[in-house]
Point group: C2
């Protein structure tokens, strides 16, 4: 019997989402939890609880496996967590720990990769052979989809678009580098820009979004104020869109993709930021590459979960000798 | 009969080199000419003359074809010249013009791609499945070799490492962009740095290399002075090595290659610049990617010509149904 469902799990810096997913991408059941701050075992426990919750009432044999997207650099071939900025998972054998407590095969990948796989299978990049996805969230992740497959590099560590240098000696990045894309476009950088702007422009609605407390301003507050028409907040995000565009000029010149998909919480909520990035690419990318399309992701917060489930289906099918 | 030879041609901004090459990469005969400044037909004429010169005494049937590397963006699938900064070849149908006057099939590619193919077949990257090559010359070119094949992108236009943004609002690039790698590392940028330094440090040997005429200083003068131990010149090239390293941190984080090959006239003559780039990568690339090797190219000025010949062999073999 060919398993009809897979479990996709998206572990973020702030929350974990799990879903029971059909082969065509329909989400049948979903469960969420805040990401525990109690160390690696707290996170593993939360994953197990969510698996049990979405599995309830479904026969184990009907489930192909579990895919987990982590906000971490994963060595895909070895299935190990090499590096993790926002959660204490570096070096933790997440796969074995979860598999020791559930009946199913677990496959790990970077959360950006999972979101890209989701968009390629069910969303904005359906059927596109060569595309780049960049996810703007707490960190800035990405996926390279080249010649019809995710490209992960020689050791399964490729796709870290957020850690390309766009300003020599630029501002520090959470990874320890300087002037990386994430230094400008990660939530901490946008929140900091919001706080600085709220000090300078006391009338900005950004301050109101944070209940008047400048030190409490988050990236989401900046986005919310901008969507309500606050010009200071719009200015911050248009500037971010220009930086995003410059970064993508380099990526487009290097990889000549057909499509760039911009996702993640920040990317999906800010259409005008994505338009700004697209116009920078149109102005500055080399001749012949300007016809690249730049679009927002379609699957919202579900992309990582759906992509993780797709990965679990793929792993199951290749193990069972099936082909999609 | 399986053709034993191919002709490889490397068209540079300043000279054109042609060679008759054996299947294993041995160069049997070579001819060179300065690149004509008389427009596209002058360049085509020079190519034809060089082909005839290296073909002399060889039977046409023994030659698989002609590969030509151009300092231009080539749409590899269409075999057209899309964009060309340093020579008047944009939109010129180089392939048809050459084929109308010789007996052989012509295959075009970007000169950086040809040099990379040369190194992968016969040089520093022999047998490596995932590598990046960057060529430092008049322009800054490159090649992506991913999963054992050149990766050219969705329209054959990939690999333009020189046109990635490394400084927002940085210095102008010959392509029209700003803050690109080529803005810092192309020959014009290095020559300009040499001229500026020679004004400030009147005792530098860079000035002597240009016969005392500061306005005549070239990138080669800077390299020559550095190799003789001039500290000002070394400073310029160590700084260039650091910029190169920062640029490659981004490429390594994005693509996770096994190997980075640094070639082109400037890259191959400056071992200490390459070492500086390698140490920046080691310090700043993300965990797990630091074990990438950074080496100088091995084939020198012949890489492009040998790679162009390898491309002609490949084209012939696929046309004849042969496999290497």
């Amino acid at each position: 019997m060919r398993a009809s469902y897979a479990i996709g799990i998206d572990v973020g810096g702030t929350r974990i989402a799990a879903g029971l997913v059909e082969r065509k991408g329909r989400l049948l059941k979903e469960a969420k939890a805040l990401t525990p701050k109690t160390g690696p075992f707290g996170i593993i426990d939360a994953i197990i609880d969510l698996v049990n919750e979405v599995m309830e009432g479904t026969h184990a044999a009907e489930v192909a496996g579990i895919g987990i997207g982590l906000p971490a650099q994963i060595d895909f071939l070895k299935q190990t967590v090499e590096f993790c900025t926002n959660l204490p998972l570096a070096g933790v054998d997440v796969r074995s720990l979860v598999m020791s407590r559930v009946k199913h095969v677990v496959t790990l990948d970077n959360d950006g990769n999972c979101a890209g796989i989701g968009e390629s299978r069910f969303g904005a990049a359906k059927g596109v052979r060569d595309f780049v996805m960049i996810t703007l969230g707490t960190g800035v992740g990405g996926l390279l989809f080249l010649d019809g497959e995710p490209y992960r590099g020689s050791r399964g560590l490729g796709g870290e678009i957020g850690h390309m240098v766009i300003r020599l000696d630029g501002p520090p990045c959470p990874c320890g580098g300087k002037g990386h894309i994430e230094s400008y476009l990660g939530r901490p950088a946008l929140a900091e820009a919001g706080r600085t702007a709220a000090e300078a422009y006391t009338g900005t609605a950004i301050r109101d979004e944070a209940g008047g407390d400048v030190s409490a301003i988050t990236a989401e507050d900046v986005v919310k104020a901008a969507l309500k028409g606050d010009e200071v907040a719009r200015g911050i995000l248009l500037e971010a869109g220009a930086v995003l565009g410059e970064a993508l000029v380099g990526v487009v010149n290097l990889l000549n993709p057909r499509l760039v998909v911009i996702g993640g919480g920040i990317g999906e909520s800010c259409g005008f930021m994505v338009e700004r990035a697209a116009s920078v690419i149109e102005d500055e990318a080399l001749a012949g590459r300007k016809d690249v399309s730049v679009v927002q992701a379609e699957l919202g917060n579900d992309a990582g979960m759906l992509g993780a489930a797709a990965m679990a289906f793929d792993e199951y099918d290749s193990r069972e000798g099936l082909h999609r």
